[in-house]
Amino acid sequence: MDLTLLSISWILLAIFIAALAAWFFYYYIRDKDKRKLMFAIAFFLASVTYLFLSAGYNRIQSEHFILSNLYHWSMLPLMTALLFAISMSVFKNKKIDILFRIYPVILIFSLIPVFLPFSIEEIVTIIQRSMAIAVLTISGYLLIKTRDFFSLIFLMSMICFTAAGISLARNMDYLSILLFLLSHTFLTIIFIISFSPTKSGNEGIESYFSLTDRLKTTEKALHESEERYKRIVENTIDAIMLTQPNGIVSYVSPACKKVLGYAPEDLVGKVPQIFHPADAKKINETLSQALDSEHGSDFEYRIKTKDRETRWVSHSWSPILKDGKLQMIVSSVRDITNRKKMEEKIAEKVKTLEGSELATLNIMEDLQETISSLEQAEREIKELNEDLEQRVKERTTEVENLLNQKDEFVNQLGHDLKNPLGPLINLLPLIEEQETNLESKEMFEVINRNVAYMKNLVTKTMQLAQLNAPSTELFVEDTILLDEINKVIERSKLLFEENNIKVESGVNKDIMVKADKLRLEELFDNLIGNSVKYSQNGGHITIDAKEDGKFVVVSVKDEGVGMTSGQLDHIFEEFYKVDESRHDFNSSGLGLSICKRIVEKHGGNIWAESKGKGKGTVMFFTIPTSNKKTSRTDYNSKSN
């Protein structure tokens, strides 16, 4: 092959274009942008074309079909790439990957006829011209539409290509080389300008060629950010909703299923009719007010879910404005049913509490009234009490006076009754002695007996009256019990002898009691007298005493007639006589009543025990013991 200037020019062009292809390839490796690979392939194969041209394939009819066919085919990839680029720019087709997959397939299939044993020149020429016309037409349309710089350059590049082809056919090889160089240069300029960081256009042909890493990074970042927001939006528990100004929902996050009870597809593309009828009016008013303002707000209302369940939601929204015009409403809707229920419960509780507070107030008022009336009553009672106290005082004084009068009366009566008895008792026996008439003597006996009875009755009544009188006080002193017993025994010696009675005292000489000596003697007089009286045909009377804590228990035991339990119940009653059928002039029926009063006045008790008729009686009484102990030892404790 001769190396002429022309062939060298073609070779230089080929090298330049191959270099551009390598440059594109480098960017493909860096950015993994298949469009760059596509142009790298296209430019490389174009450089092959120029090599064929350096060999003069445009003029010679090679016998080697394959090489000839390869020459004709080698420009096809570039034409195809340009057609794809312009098509994608016009139709805003973003599916680059698909196109790139189509591209190699087209190349491989178009390569098959290359290896056929005949020339494909004519077919390829027709295809190339068709493609050139298409690219030119579309470029022209794009320029008219966008009127931008890139479209102009692209169109110029296409014009250069077309002109280069025509020049080649007219054998104007140098012009052709120049035009090819220009066309490739124009294309490369589009790429280079698109690299500039100041450019961010994405319209027209530039969108296809703006294959810079910055754009790519931005796109990637945008994509990532979009993904992130999408994830946030789709994973948030609140339903995020985008609504158009006309009320149609354009997007709603999956959470709406949980929050609103509707699937996103139930709402998207529609004006949702989910409001609770009771709240619909309020919602519409709030919405229209809210839409008039440029700021977002939030409000709470009820909705009806797809399952007709009522729920409370909190709706926060904000408008997206462009040039002061509402573009979109972004809403966040949250299910607050539980909160509302809680609030209702609290409100109910508060109401109940308020109610009970009111009730408490009422009770307090009632209480106040009650207290007032109680205070009034208290005042009245106090007055009454004062009055009553006064009256009680007066009555007490009256009663005291009366009691004193009674005491006085009893004493006076006793005195007045006893006085006339004196002469009777003293003089009657004198007359009786002088009387010799037996009948008269008998009558005197009767009189004497009755006078003695009257004396006994008057004396005992007087004693009992005195004991019953509250004014009668005991003269209590520390007393040796045995001394008092012995006094009585000594005094009644004659009585015991007359009745053939033996008296024994087992009382310890050390026992001391707190007692009124005279009363104590009176007590023993009565008890021993009774024992004598009811001991027929002699017998023993045993007096005993033993200390029992704070008291001394004294017993007077006889072997006399004894008593039934029925009689025992009554013996301390006044004027009670054991044998009522017997007219007993020795008994007044007051002796044991007097004993009982004496013992009680000392703070003790008196009782009787008998195993029955004929089995004797034991009289017991208690009398307070004295703390003092006697030191006397010289007293005879036995007597008869």
Binding site: L421, G422, P429, E433, T459, Q463
Partner: protein
């Protein structure tokens, strides 16, 4: 002969005492005084007894007043007094025991009265 003045507003009482004492064999002369005033009158007339049986409850001048007057008179203060009364209350009993020489409750037993009189007279001689 020992003289005993019996002061009692009841003449029957004095009579009964006189008769029963005589019957009991006593040889004392009895000076009857029907009131406290009469008792003092006799004393002023130097009729001084060896013993006075003094009733307490008498109208106009009670036995207490008579007793008080006797004890406040240097001539009469030593005359032994036995209270003779129907009263059995503590005051009367104590009066007999601590103020006078003895106390006898009406109606009395003649024997008892004689014994007491004898005893007091023995003690004062």
């Amino acid at each position: 002969m020992k003289k005993i003045m019996v002061v009692d507003d009841e003449p029957d009482q004095i009579y009964a005492i006189k008769k029963s004492l005589e019957k009991a064999g006593v040889t004392y002369g009895i000076i009857p005084a029907n009131s406290g005033a009469q008792c003092l009158e006799f004393l002023e007339k130097n009729q001084i007894p060896d013993l006075i049986l003094l009733d307490i409850m008498m109208p106009e001048m009670s036995g207490w007043i008579v007793f008080d007057k006797l004890k406040n008179n240097t001539t009469w203060e030593k005359i032994p007094i036995i209270f003779l009364t129907a009263r059995t209350d503590k005051i009367a009993v104590n009066a007999g025991e601590f103020l006078g020489n003895d106390f006898i409750e009406k109606p009395f037993d003649t024997k008892d009265l004689k014994n007491r009189i004898d005893k007091v007279l023995e003690n004062t001689n």
